[in-house]
Symmetry: C2
Subunit: 332 residues, 2 copies
């Protein structure tokens, strides 16, 4: 079941975006498994980097304050790496519409710089790229499988899709063993909880815990599925070893059953013991890029790598609320 974990002790692994939400959870797990972790993070404000996220990292591991676009600083960090977990980027869909050129730099140019640096190094570490099911846009069928047409509804999705193509191309042309994971909504400890640019989950969690009003756009009837961050970390861990995913693969993550945003909010309010729900009109800028109901089929990574989500929504939200009760001051 978990023999993929045996590969990590003593390995050198690089985590881009490793001070961010998913990256830091992954880096801490890798460190605990006995890997030598190099975190690369530009710490650009608003993208989720948080030094508190990696409290407790062992002396074996290190944090490099390097932007992927700074090739001269990045190149020496690539030496000796067995695997690169590539989670750097800008995740806000709404911010990508407000400043599409910034999104191009952070999700396009930065990825191309990283892959070019790998190519130039002559080394061929695995590169596991964190993409998003947002590339599907408004799905024609649910749950969306990996061969669903790609029609992103925002700039962020376009650039994540371009970065997926970069990874595929560098595998096909330069034999860099790359794997793409298309993440569903993700929640849990160490998430960016500030700012209007985030997804609904951090906004809801914080609002509920502050006993505020959770705004359900259009009544909150649209469906989503979401993974607790530990399940996402497990998916990355399964892709790292050479015995993991075949290079060039693309896998959906996801969870069932899907839930409506309304039922999510109700579960959360019950767990937090605070917060109230309110139906509100769709804000114009969000309605334009909203994807409607979305859920993704993850049977392909289950079949190939044995991954499946193990956290229920209720358990995940329980753990999430407990974390921010303890550490909220580092995130609020």
């Amino acid at each position: 079941m978990d023999e993929h974990l045996d590969w990590y002790p003593g390995r050198s692994v690089l985590v881009t975006g490793g001070l961010g939400f998913i990256g830091s959870n992954l880096a801490l797990t890798l460190d605990a498994l006995g890997a030598r972790v190099t975190i690369v993070d530009s710490s650009i404000p608003g993208l989720g980097a948080n030094r508190f996220n990696v409290e407790g990292l062992s002396d074996r591991s290190q944090v490099a304050a390097v932007d992927l676009r700074d090739t001269a600083a990045l190149a020496p960090l690539l030496a000796g790496q067995d695997c690169i977990f590539n989670l750097a980027g800008q995740a806000s869909h709404i911010d990508s519409m407000t400043d599409p050129l910034a999104d191009l730099d952070l999700n396009g140019r930065a990825q191309l710089c990283l892959l070019e640096a790998v190519r130039a190094s002559g080394l061929r570490p695995r590169v596991i790229f964190a993409s998003t099911r947002q590339v599907y846009g408004r799905p024609e069928r649910l749950p969306a499988t990996e061969d669903h047409p790609v029609r992103p509804t925002d700039i962020n999705g376009i650039h994540k899709q371009a970065a997926e193509h970069y990874h595929r191309l560098f595998h096909e042309v330069y034999e860099v063993p790359t794997v793409v994971l298309r993440l569903a909504n993700v929640y849990g400890p160490r998430q960016l909880m500030r700012g209007r640019g985030q997804g609904f989950i951090p906004i809801f969690v914080r609002t509920a815990m502050e006993d505020g009003t959770l705004s359900l756009f259009g009544g909150g009837h649209q469906e989503r599925d979401a993974n607790y961050v530990d399940d996402v970390v497990d998916a990355f861990l399964r892709c790292g070893p050479p015995t993991g995913a075949a290079p060039g693969s693309t896998y959906n993550l996801g969870a069932e059953p899907p839930f409506t945003l309304r039922s999510f909010a109700k579960t959360l309010v019950a767990i937090a013991g605070a917060g109230t729900l309110a139906n509100v009109e769709w804000p114009a800028d969000r309605a334009l890029i909203d994807v409607g109901s979305v859920s993704t089929d993850h049977s392909s990574i289950t079949a190939d790598l044995g991954w499946k989500p193990t956290w229920s929504l209720a358990d995940g939200l329980e753990a999430t609320v407990a974390y921010y009760r303890l550490h909220g001051r580092h995130y609020w």
Copy 2:
């Protein structure tokens, strides 16, 4: 048949990349039809801009030496435009692999800057974008239709695909009426004839006319289809009027029957009365990104807009060779 041409007299139209190969042929035709043409061209060396290309442009029309990424200079040029023919870009597949970041700037960032400038202007001119069938990569079936999966085999194709998505998105979100044309190989007068970064046609034409040796990689058995530039100009002209292509449309161009590179070379050598053929090994860098045999189905634009190629390969090559016999010194 040609009532779309009646729309142009007195119209204001902008042609990006209008000093380049297809852009200049289009600009001259628009000018001759009585439109006021504004050519926007950055004249970056190596991309095909050539002042000689627009010799004979009337006083009604103008050339603006502006880079699309220079928003401050671009914005005033957008005022009053009825249509934007968007042909700016870097077309070399091999150069996109040598310098992917430059390709990102020229085919990604520049396109996003143009569309952002249109959005910010509050104007909603039609935008007709010159993409490429290279986005299909190595086709799974021939001829490729517009719904063929997109799997570009080089960086250029990835960025052209991203730019297609930008155009679609700006239509869906901001109601800019955009249309995408996926061009096949194109040949004819005013093409960039220098440099190793170009497609096979300019290299073959120049080599034949200089009585040199036309190198057929792997024997030249791969198939292509190609449009004489006047047919491509006609496709753009059909998309400009509001009665033309539905906003959000994507159309293949192309021609039948497809030909092998070998038969193309033989036809060309016969017409030029010079040149010899030679089989050579595939150069490694080109083999890696070659797409094999490619042809595209253009029945969709025929059905919707009445476009079809009218030039045979022999007639087109005759006209091409005649043009460079007269004007070769401006291109060699």
